[in-house]
């Protein structure tokens, strides 16, 4: 068999061409190309995503039928606890309002939000980022936090194109968010754990961390508002060098089925 056959020559030329393309675009030249393709295809992508809503999680559901009973019991328990907590919070809210009025404090600021549709997600299936259909033209900038349901943190804007933007989700390995445990005030950093969920790291050994505690953004560093909900503590352990505590976090957000998110433009 001749190595330099017509087929192999075509293969080699294609490889050389693509290596050149990779080299050119690795120097930051991919924004106009990506921006234009995203602009042209976003209406189709939006349509595909909206229509897929009806079949949401169908295949995932097939694989998890066995877990449904225990999950249902757990959710019912959680629901009862949340009802009690909600009643308590309503009482505290009234008290807080009264105290603010008496102390002549300004009311808490509302976020300036920009709602947008999710048009695409990681095609390699790691689920660590999304593309949304709003970008520079809607006032979106890199670094802005992205939330769902009025206050649950989903991620952060990393790349902005004229009519679309890339959101790196909180479960991405490279994301690091200054966070705090609501109950104890313990500070730490929330990171992604290789697509396996979330992890809170760098918690001081002297802090009390319990299963079920709520984790929120601490607002340290100024890149994110304080108080955005991240998730709740599942397991508590030690870092490899035993200097800090680590814990896994369960996020209430199902990142694979997100269809609408809000970008916090001002806080």
């Amino acid at each position: 068999m001749k190595f330099f056959s017509k087929k192999n020559k075509k293969f080699l030329w294609a490889v050389i061409f693509l290596i050149i393309v990779v080299f050119i675009f690795s120097r930051g030249g991919n924004n106009p190309v990506k921006g234009s393709v995203l602009y042209l295809t976003s209406p189709f992508l939006k349509t595909f995503r909206v229509f897929s809503g009806g079949t949401e999680g169908f295949f995932h559901f097939l694989g998890s039928i066995g877990d449904l009973k225990s999950e249902n019991e757990k959710i019912l328990e959680e629901n009862k606890a949340l009802l009690a907590k909600n009643a308590l919070l309503k009482d505290i809210e009234g008290e807080n309002k009264l105290l603010r009025e008496q102390m002549e404090l300004l009311p808490r600021k509302e976020y300036e939000l920009e709602s947008s549709f999710v048009i695409a997600q990681d095609p390699l299936g790691m689920g660590n980022y999304l593309f949304i259909d709003k970008g520079e033209n809607s006032g979106i900038k890199a670094g802005m936090p992205v939330i769902v349901s009025k206050g649950i943190l989903a991620g952060k804007i990393t790349e902005v194109y004229p009519n679309s933007a890339k959101v790196v989700l909180v479960n991405e390995k490279s994301s690091a968010i200054n966070s705090e445990i609501e109950e104890s005030g313990a500070k730490g950093i929330v990171k992604g754990a290789y697509g396996l969920g979330l992890m809170m790291d760098m918690i001081s050994q002297s802090e009390m961390v319990k299963e079920g505690d709520a984790v929120i953004t601490s607002g340290l560093g100024g890149d994110m508002p304080r108080g955005l909900y991240i998730g709740k503590i599942k397991e508590v352990g030690q870092s490899a060098d035993k200097l800090f505590q680590q814990s896994t976090i369960i996020s209430p957000v199902d990142f694979s089925s997100l269809r609408v998110v809000s970008v916090i433009k001002k806080y």
């Binding site: 490889v15 995503r49 079949t55 295949f59 290789y194 697509g195």
Partner: protein, 180 residues
Amino acid sequence: MRNFFFVIFCAAVVFLQVSSAGVIFGSERVPNFALALVISLVLVLGFEKSLAWIILTGILVDVYSGWIIGMDALVMIIIAWVVSALLSVADIKSRKSLFFPALFLLSAGFALIYDILAGIFMHVAILWLNIGGSYFRVNYSGWDYTFKIFFTALSVYAVYYFVERINRLFSRPAPAFVRK
């Protein structure tokens, strides 16, 4: 006309993978429809005739991935070439009873190879091209990954069917009255 249909079909497969597959299958189990398309194109058209469609599909996937444009296309071209080399040794298309199980195994195997190659290329890009970004990590063990491979292998039947149909539709000789 055939080229127009192939462009539409390649784009539709990529759109399905980036926009709907995560919602339908769950984000950790997204089947690699693009790979199913590459395998089907090589089986139906051969490596040389499918080269342009493979590059188009790869570049479209790259636009929606966090990768540098061209990286996925490179992985796909290598896989297409290996599939074509395998087909020249073992002609699975002519063995009707073996074709479907062989297609399933071929797709499952290459879905795994795709992720391994993608991981290697990402490491090389980060180290040699001095770009920022996190390493591409796949959790090869566990049910999610098994399902992902299984769904990819299943999806190749549907994709192969459409590629075959499009090709057959436009390969037919024109009716006699048209030729006259």
